[in-house]
Subunit: 418 residues, 4 copies
Amino acid sequence: MLGVDGAQLARGAVDAIAARAGAADRDGELPAADLDELRGAGLLGLLVPTRLGGFGGGFADWADAARVLASASGATALVLNMHTSVVGALARTPDELARAMGAPESFFLARDQLLARAAAGEFIAVAMSERGAGARLSALATRYRRESDGYRIRGVKAFCSGASHADVFFVAARAAESDPTDPTDPTTPLDPSTSAGPSGPAMVSHFLVPSGPGVSVEPSWDSLGMRGTGSHDVRLDVWVPAQALVGGVAGLSLLVAQGMPQWLVASYAAVYAGVGRAVFDAGVDHVRGRRGTGMPSGLTGLPAVRARFGQADAALAALDAVVDECARRVDADPGSDLTNRWVWRAKLLAGRTVQDVAASIVEACGTAATRRGHPLERLYRDARCGSLQPATSDVCADWLGLAALGGDPEADANVARW
Amino acid sequence: MLGVDGAQLARGAVDAIAARAGAADRDGELPAADLDELRGAGLLGLLVPTRLGGFGGGFADWADAARVLASASGATALVLNMHTSVVGALARTPDELARAMGAPESFFLARDQLLARAAAGEFIAVAMSERGAGARLSALATRYRRESDGYRIRGVKAFCSGASHADVFFVAARAAESDPTDPTDPTTPLDPSTSAGPSGPAMVSHFLVPSGPGVSVEPSWDSLGMRGTGSHDVRLDVWVPAQALVGGVAGLSLLVAQGMPQWLVASYAAVYAGVGRAVFDAGVDHVRGRRGTGMPSGLTGLPAVRARFGQADAALAALDAVVDECARRVDADPGSDLTNRWVWRAKLLAGRTVQDVAASIVEACGTAATRRGHPLERLYRDARCGSLQPATSDVCADWLGLAALGGDPEADANVARW
Amino acid sequence: MLGVDGAQLARGAVDAIAARAGAADRDGELPAADLDELRGAGLLGLLVPTRLGGFGGGFADWADAARVLASASGATALVLNMHTSVVGALARTPDELARAMGAPESFFLARDQLLARAAAGEFIAVAMSERGAGARLSALATRYRRESDGYRIRGVKAFCSGASHADVFFVAARAAESDPTDPTDPTTPLDPSTSAGPSGPAMVSHFLVPSGPGVSVEPSWDSLGMRGTGSHDVRLDVWVPAQALVGGVAGLSLLVAQGMPQWLVASYAAVYAGVGRAVFDAGVDHVRGRRGTGMPSGLTGLPAVRARFGQADAALAALDAVVDECARRVDADPGSDLTNRWVWRAKLLAGRTVQDVAASIVEACGTAATRRGHPLERLYRDARCGSLQPATSDVCADWLGLAALGGDPEADANVARW
Amino acid sequence: MLGVDGAQLARGAVDAIAARAGAADRDGELPAADLDELRGAGLLGLLVPTRLGGFGGGFADWADAARVLASASGATALVLNMHTSVVGALARTPDELARAMGAPESFFLARDQLLARAAAGEFIAVAMSERGAGARLSALATRYRRESDGYRIRGVKAFCSGASHADVFFVAARAAESDPTDPTDPTTPLDPSTSAGPSGPAMVSHFLVPSGPGVSVEPSWDSLGMRGTGSHDVRLDVWVPAQALVGGVAGLSLLVAQGMPQWLVASYAAVYAGVGRAVFDAGVDHVRGRRGTGMPSGLTGLPAVRARFGQADAALAALDAVVDECARRVDADPGSDLTNRWVWRAKLLAGRTVQDVAASIVEACGTAATRRGHPLERLYRDARCGSLQPATSDVCADWLGLAALGGDPEADANVARW
């Protein structure tokens, strides 16, 4: 805990959010009131430095807050996780590291403006993924091109959580193909030394695009689980001024992402650890509520039920311990090899643990828990999504195996990750 | 295969049923057209002897048909499974066994009438379960009482698959409490020798109640999976004539159920084996359809994906082999100790295998497979239900363990099963 | 069952073999008396055609016999499995298929001589593997070279089961490197069209090398499990006459192996299914023997113990059903794509199931079962070996996944298998 | 870390211990030199207060030391674990708690003498278990009876780790049956208020019995794994003076054991976490040593191998995090409900994780790793023992399930634990 108790901030918001979780799931949309709740609790600025109006929290603060929120609504926690990952990556990359990556001085001002606005309640939605591209940046079809002292961005993004309520979108795009007949073609990388050419991942840049004309949300989200994220498509054909380029240097933000995999890898783990806790608590409530309705000692009297809860208890405790350890290391030694291993471990364990626990607890509770409206019906579907979100469990295991065996996970893995 | 190719009969119906599976899942209701399809294919009479107008099939024929149907729609296969379990238990209990259990001669005429009507297309919906009672007959709240040369039945049944389209309901009810102040109280068991008193399971009897006045379907079904069964509540306050008592003897049909656990235990296994096959096929379609869209050799090129399909292939093959072996034994030696072990094995393996396979194949296919409308999104939810349906996996494992260790599973188990 | 009841033959031998299993495990050597037992029961000729003095059995007969033998001693069953795989591959490859693969007429006479000698009690030990080469023939260091109307074979073989008691060794060797300065160099392939050159697998040939001078068994076997196979190293520096080349054509026997993966793939499954049965039976004996020694109803009274036995019962039943189905198909339609899938499935499931069952049953029985001398102590170690023997579980899963997804498992797999 | 770095102390001893681990396993005996090593490093007094000559360490110090030692030899770590559990339970029970349990003032002097002798290098072997009694104190057959101002103890103990080298034995015994004809019968409990009668667990007392006449070690240990503990039988027919009664009050030490389950429950977890680390490291060494011997990129190039190491890495990291969290809580808040939950979680996870990891890593490394002399051959057997040692995994899961569902694990569990 750096300067704030993330769990405490979150706790103030959870009752209202929990009350809306069922409806959000039914409708497949983030409740606007949930966002208001997060905003009101100051959670949009949890990781923004206090000098910019935020709480100055660190990764561990977010890991605590995320678990508390996710125990009320995994979907709403996931939406905030996207926002927080952008804020965190920017707020907690040391200045010297950013400079070493090539950030010009203008980067810092732009960054501070963004962070101050987040602390003031501006919600950033992340528009990185595209249908069919998986998590691979090299397959992005959204292109940017210099135009009139700014950039034209065209493409369709998918899985943009909270899109309907976004104040600004954090958009990944690839540089358009160079036109070799045009000597003034602006797609030349600003800093060729950090670029592998227009097809390389280094030419993927990120832009902050305000909602408004040229940006339309297409309500396409209709998923098995985590339905309340409202992760719709976003269609872009929009011009943005030069300062919308995050960091002011093409390709810069990617370097940040690679160096800080805690954002959008380990932070998912915290969210799903919260979902796991919700599963367990809903199961306990269900079983204890069944006491005395016919069976002498209720479901608690069944050894197989007790064994399922006992195994789940230990598995979730282990997950919490891993998330805690990971968070401590991220705050103490961000980006180191050992820290990054804990990041991948946390993601791998979260995905698998929560799914297994949900399956087992539903089995302990029986058919009644599969009725729509029962929290376990929703949570079982939510729990399935963790290991599918990037990096998937199979990718995490491969990364960790390579690291353990002396390979370079970033270079040697079967699948590109960025 | 006794006298008919069940799989072949089913194959004629599956295309149309498959086309409606998504809508049935969305609406949570059995499509009336599906029932017409089953009726038209003669599947309502698959197990009815040919002398009564049926196909004279055996358990293996149903196991084959169930798997084919379930590969198109697990929900529709489940609905037919309920009907077929009643038909099968009646059609395939040898006359001498029924006599030994106490069936009077009038039983055989009544049974043949029921079977002939099934072969003619009458659909029997099973109304045994009640909310909160689990599978335990001793906890049933629905009561019957003699009234005017017949019986008055009052209660509310739950989980009645296909209720909206039932021609007749197969209703389990307990004898009403005796009134010790009334010497003419009609709740005295007809045959005290087969009864353990009004609270004993032997006093549970089954009735055939035609749809119509006094029987109302309350559309309450809204479940995680197998939504297309339309397994609604049924409210009964109805008088039926004496011949509506199945077997003509209170408590008789229960004995049949105990002696023939293949009906509603192993037959579930066949349905879920078909669901597993559907999962696998949908996964293969998904992965092969992804070839060439960016990745050099598509998802097939990923070793982790191949391993998931390879493991699933072996697991489903094992399940099929077990269902086949079980079915062969049920037809050759019904009700023997060894046959019954195969019945419990098949149920246990089906529940667990199909759920595990669905989880793994979804993980192989990724987020795209979790979008509503994708067959895997529905199948993942359907697959969760197998081990929850009676007998649950935990109950099966306990039963088998007791049998292996020399106990009497019916007497010594932790949970009563009937 | 083709013409003999393999299980019945085996049953006559198991009591004596079981009595020696502990000592064989302790000593790490195949008891000579076990081989006498197998010989006396005619099991060396189980698959030899009756016209050559054998029992004319098929794969299913061996699968039955192997399970019975392995329930007494997995190690002894494995030794016979090696012998039987050579016999089976030769006896049950149709003549027309052998001709199509390039077998000259002389092949058939040589084959019949070998089979007749096996039926007469000659024990063939398989000397294919080498330390460090895994199962990959392309990595073999043992070389053969033409010399004086015959062949000189030099090399060291590992894992040769029953080596101490072999009458003849079935040896795999690669053609020595060609000497480009010698125009009469005899390493030129006999049939270049079936060869990929001296480094290709097609240049791996098999030889029948009698025990005697030039062949020395080096007692090196000292393994975790299956210790009683006495799978020692065999050092070869020996000249054999031309007719020792199996099939009379370089590279021929490999084609047989590829076409008939049941030998040494599915046949392992049958052996390990028998080991699994031994585990289960030893566990039941242990638990039932503990009744009444303090606990009210002994270990049987513990629900967790019952659940372990119940799960194991179902898993082993499934494995048996898969081995049976595989064996039926191997006999009915050998070498077809679908049959071969069952072969890989059987191997995959056997390796995993038996290991899991052993771990769980030992846990059910507790510390007392881990004392040396208790059958479960040995069986736990034996059970670990199944999935490690070729094809390993990971290889099987990859093969099956590729087959399911439309690839060619022989061509596309990550690891060469022959 | 209270006042010492347990890991650091242990590190000084591990190289020599590791070098003897193979021989210890082969011989089934604790090397005397290992004990000298532990003594020389001061590890026998790790938990003894500094005022008595020890290092004043806490549970976390032991958890660190145990993991380091177990990575060299799980067996030797287990031996020290038994000694340390006695020392720890005595050293770290607060005086006021001991008084509340009924300890007279003489207890503290006796305790301090014992601790000082441990710090001076006296090795305490634990002789609690008996063959057939499992972990249940109520089934103990060893009896004590007052005799000549002291006690006569008669019985045979089993599983006494390090027995051959014990300086003193920590012996559990039950009060002999009272003789109702003898009014001076000395078996009357000293303090009836803490006793449930001679058959109750409260009448189990512990004694410190020096090695020497009347105490004979019977070399009976011959186990699957952890062979180097030399956990032999100890036959007792010995008189000890009154002060040999631990705590000076019959039944007292049991209360300590119940209140402080970390000793001999969580401390096992630390040992097995070290074994898991040894498995992983041996696997990495094996795989990296295989690079370049034939396969292009060695076993590391196989995705299935990488996945196995990746999964193992995450599982072992989780186990370490749980052991760390448990240890922190034990030191900060010993005996609380929440702390005790972490104790059971750590034991449950250690037993299962290490066994699963060992099975998977052996599978990744292949047959070569199963040869005796390869560290994985030994470690695979050692890893099997964790979940069998008390409290077994099934007992832990039941305990945790009851605690989660609101039951009282000590009162309601299926199996008595003390």
